[in-house]
Symmetry: C2
Subunit: 213 residues, 2 copies
């Protein structure tokens, strides 16, 4: 067993620790940030395949061994990147008044906004989303964290800060449909408008049990 370094974001409560995020010295937080920056930069340029561990290490100016000490696999790395992106989106959302007359409309606004944001960077989205779906059991915790982030964004959008169990399940389904559609879009099996329509229909059905107003 190697001695664990900064690493892992288990955090049993699911709440972020104040604002500074997790353990590690300043230098370590710096390194971790550089690594994720490098990852996302490479992903944005060439997608999943362009995120090569040696390239990430180089660009982040750490040794390959160090990279692996921080993130035990390429998938962990990319899911961590997705997590950070969602965290940022979520924070930005907090500073925004979400438009829409009904909770459903507001959820749809959030979903549409994030979808468009991701579609603006196809390579990056491809890399993160494929890693997310490919993740195996060893990255289950990281995937779960992303799930939590999506759920809480949805909850906030709908003004259900404390979702019921049923709400949670429905948010989870919406997240599933969202991710599935992003995957389809990323692999060119669905157009941007396909995605938009499907999301709208499924959200209305799941939340209101109807579509067309």
């Amino acid at each position: 067993m190697p001695p664990m370094p900064p690493q892992a974001t288990s955090n049993s409560t699911g709440m972020a620790t104040t604002s500074s995020e997790e353990l590690g010295s300043a230098a370590q937080r710096e390194r971790r940030k550089r690594i994720i920056d490098a990852t996302l930069a490479l992903a944005a340029k060439g997608g999943y395949d362009a995120v090569q561990m040696r390239a990430v290490a180089d660009k982040a100016d750490v040794a390959l061994g160090t990279l692996y000490r921080y993130f035990p696999s390429k998938v962990h790395l990319l899911v961590a990147g997705l997590s950070r992106e969602f965290q940022r989106a979520s924070e930005k959302l907090d500073r925004t008044k979400i438009p829409g007359d009904t909770p459903t409309d507001r959820l749809l606004f959030v979903l549409g906004r994030n979808t468009r944001m991701m579609q603006r960077d196809p390579h990056l989205t491809e890399a993160m989303v494929r890693a997310f779906m490919f993740a195996d059991t060893t990255a289950a915790a990281e995937v779960e964290q992303v799930g939590k982030l999506m759920e809480s964004m949805f909850a906030r959008a709908m003004g259900k800060e404390v979702p019921t169990e049923r709400d949670s399940v429905i948010f989870h389904m919406i997240a599933d449909v969202w991710m599935a559609n992003l995957v389809a879009w990323v692999t060119r099996r669905a157009s941007a408008t396909d995605v938009q329509h499907r999301l709208e229909l499924s959200v209305r059905l799941l939340l209101e049990g109807r579509d067309e107003d």
Copy 2:
């Protein structure tokens, strides 16, 4: 450009050609079958990681180069395996009277039956489902075919042999939720009962706009 062999299953109509399936000499169909058999056997024994191209080639008694001539990547191979499994499930279904009083119930029966069938072989399911989700654009056609199979199974279950556009979209969403739940199950982020409940809830909401009867 290398000369294409048996290969690809485009089939623009989406209909299976009578019963014998696709082009190629008898020997070629034989090889193809052996390859998929070998793939599924290895997958059943050790999941995604155990499906190693050299091992598949060995077990199928073909050269590595031949394997690649038939299936251009590991993902193609596994998605083809999933496709064949679904085709079989679909055929078996055709020989079955689907129980259930309402179309929704019948769809849920089919979904539950297939889910249980897949859960009976966790490794195999893990291998196929992860490949399915990880597939890139080069395997989009194969993924689409699997999508078509799911859709037509659902359509048949509900007695909607000729689904409307709206039906299709809804079937697609159900397939998305189904696959997402299988992924979650496979990575131990969801239990079998979680999956069952989520599927039931989402199908009822998507099809009837309500749950609890």
